[in-house]
């Protein structure tokens, strides 16, 4: 049972005529995603990868009754585009841009709450229902169907770990990139709840990192409400305090958000924490065999 999206989800691409937008439209179509339209103000009437382009999101929704949208545009324009998508009634919004101002992100999330919509990101690689549909920029070939749900704060590191699983012939149900920023729409707990309800998901991998308290909150949720096995990998063990490691969230500040605190909270909740990315597949194999 796919979660969030499936092979029938009708997807718009906002910012489809840009370099990233057009390239990834092609990649998503190749994966099987139902891309029904694109939006690029001033470029209506064109077509990209055979997809019709509209001037406004409302116009595209009128023509194609889309349900989801993926956004490719420079960060200063992300708020306007996300508001437009939400106002036009789309229920899943995937925000690819990096460097979206935090206050813009907070306003987007507040409006999404009113509209009862799901926002993934910003600064995410998106999400994929393996073998069905992807709304994102992840490399297609690693995302093959199987029994493991994956949720991650970072992109390439998630590919690395999913790549290790694929090499070991372990596929995935759904893979969700939460995004590397301090304010992102979905959190670990939201996705863990979905995985717990999803009969196809037998085990879960969560990929976390230093900074913030999302992993600790997830640990409390796992201890109280998860029956399925969870394996974690955490990046940033060697990071010195006070240095921001690329992601806006990845910083140890005032003694908060350390690797040790996260690893301890997760271990206490019964989560096996892998000490290297390549240690994830054996732990998952054991978890699947124990079921």
């Amino acid at each position: 049972m796919p979660i969030y999206i499936d092979q029938n989800t009708r997807v718009l691409v906002q910012g489809i005529t840009g370099k990233q937008g057009s390239f990834h439209t092609g990649q998503m179509i190749a994966y099987g995603t139902k891309i029904v339209g694109g939006v690029s103000p001033g470029k209506g009437g064109q077509s990209v990868e055979g997809v019709p382009v509209y001037n406004s999101t409302f116009e595209a929704v009128e023509h194609h009754s889309a349900e989801a949208s993926i956004l490719f545009m420079p960060a200063p324009f992300a708020k306007d585009a996300a508001f437009e998508a939400l106002d036009a009634g789309l229920k899943i919004i995937v925000l690819i841009p990096e460097s979206v101002p935090l206050h813009d992100a907070m306003e987007i999330m507040a409006y999404a709450r009113q509209k009862n919509a799901v926002v993934v990101g910003p600064n995410t690689f998106g999400l994929v229902s393996s073998g069905n549909s992807k709304i994102g920029i992840m490399p297609n070939r690693y995302f093959v169907p199987g029994p493991v749900g994956v949720v991650s704060r970072s992109g390439t590191l998630c590919y690395e770990i999913v790549g290790h699983l694929t090499e070991n012939e372990i596929g995935t149900t759904t893979v969700v990139g939460l995004g590397g920023d301090r304010v992102v729409g979905l959190h670990f707990i939201d996705v863990l709840k979905k995985f717990e309800e999803d009969p196809a998901t037998e085990a879960v991998v969560m990929v976390g990192e230093i900074g913030g308290s999302a992993e600790e909150e997830a640990a409390a949720h796992i201890a109280s409400s998860m029956t399925k096995p969870v394996i974690a990998y955490l990046a940033g063990k060697s990071a010195p305090p006070g240095k921001r490691m690329g992601h806006a969230g990845a910083i140890i500040e005032r003694g908060r958000g350390t690797f040790e605190s996260k690893a301890e909270a997760l271990s206490k909740a019964g989560v096996k924490v892998a000490d290297l990315p390549m240690a994830v597949p054996p732990l998952i194999k054991t978890a699947l065999a124990d079921k």
Partner: protein
């Protein structure tokens, strides 16, 4: 971007938030002269460190000689390794009570959150959890009067102080929102006979929003190399070790550093050259790393949006133009992997497909293990 205390207080003043009368000076003599205008004063080092007070960066004076002496002492201090360039000389205020007040961003709630406590003046981490009131604010509502009153009720604040706080909170919230702040912290917030006064100011502005705040000065805590990297739009952090690391993506770069340490090596840096970098930017990243004179170069590429052939071409170009004499451990997989591998083989560089092998090889190359 963290603001110096005096800049934070300048912002406060713009929002009608009371701060002590003050002068900014750069020498001991200037400090002495200010005493004449302000009377009894507090002399505060303007450094971006939370350890200022404990490190002796704050002094008191009531006449010219004392002020000159204290200012000279503080100007000579290194606080957290940082030199003091400016001193903020403030009138000494009469404090009846010290509070703690801050607004920051609560990622879990997607909202700004007000933190308020009657235990001001002390290290915020030492404040008991039940003495710190937390109130997330919905940005569509903004800071309403009832919220400020409710925060006061939960703090146990009544009477005149309540009136003061209900008036004070919306100003701080407005500044926080208008200026794209990540943090606006006042510790202590002082109750004086004339009302509430911000005795300190810790303000951090969201780096990603600086483009719409041209009026703010640019402050950096970065080293020269980190600044050079910033100009190239690279995420770069200097570390202590001898293995230069280059990878694409913040998470995997962190994981690479962790793995280097796991196998007994020490990384020289964090360098995430981002997703989908072109040949020029990739070459510049490499040149930057070579300029740090590391013992070994470790490159870890998992190409998604990043193309392996582009990384390989950039490497060859730098090798041919500038020379790469140090031992290299190169991991290359993902988009256009075989093209990339072919390009590197022509210049005699072998690549790994596994991150684990590449990292272990890099550590062996340092010769320390």
């Amino acid at each position: 971007m963290k603001l110096y205390e005096y800049l934070g207080k300048e912002l406060f003043s713009q929002y009608d938030i009371p701060v002590p009368r003050s002068k900014l000076v750069e020498s001991a003599d200037q400090a002495g002269q200010v005493v004449g205008e302000l009377g009894e004063v507090v002399i505060k080092s303007q450094v971006l460190s939370g350890k200022r007070g404990k490190a002796g960066g704050i002094g008191f004076a009531s006449d010219f000689a004392e002020a000159q002496k204290e200012a000279a002492r503080i100007l000579d201090l290194k606080i957290d390794g940082l030199a003091t360039e400016k001193l903020l000389i403030e009138e000494k205020i009469e404090i009846e009570q010290e509070l703690y007040l801050a607004i920051t961003i609560d990622g879990s709630a997607h909202r700004p959150v007000v933190l308020a406590s009657l235990d001001g003046g002390m290290d915020v981490e030492d404040v008991a959890e039940n003495r710190m009131i937390r109130w997330p604010v919905d940005v569509t509502l903004g800071m309403q009067g009832y919220m400020a009153r409710e925060i006061c009720r939960r703090m146990g604040v009544t009477g005149n102080l309540q009136k003061e706080l209900v008036n004070f909170l919306p100003k701080l919230y407005r500044m926080f929102r208008d200026q794209d702040a990540e943090l606006a912290e006042i510790n202590p917030l002082a109750l004086t006979p004339d009302g509430l006064v911000a005795a300190d100011a810790k303000v951090t502005i969201d780096d990603d929003a600086l483009y719409r705040h041209q009026e703010l000065p640019r402050i950096t805590e970065k080293t020269a190399l980190e600044l050079k990297a910033e100009k190239l739009d690279l995420a770069y952090v200097e570390l202590e070790g001898d293995i230069a690391v280059m990878a694409n993506g913040a998470g995997i770069t962190m994981a690479t550093l962790d793995m280097v340490q796991h196998y007994g090596g020490e990384p020289a840096n964090f360098l995430d050259f981002g997703g989908g970098a072109d040949l020029e930017k990739t070459a510049q990243s490499l040149e930057l790393l070579l300029g740090t004179d590391p013992k070994v170069l470790l490159i870890n590429i998992f190409g998604g949006i990043t193309r392996c052939d582009v990384v390989a071409e950039a490497f060859v170009r730098v090798k041919e133009n500038k020379g790469i004499d140090l031992p290299v451990s190169f991991r290359l997989v993902g988009t256009n992997e075989s093209e990339g591998r072919t390009i590197l083989e022509k210049v005699g560089i072998k690549t790994f497909t596994s991150m684990d092998e590449a990292v272990r090889h890099a550590v062996v190359l340092t010769g320390t293990v």
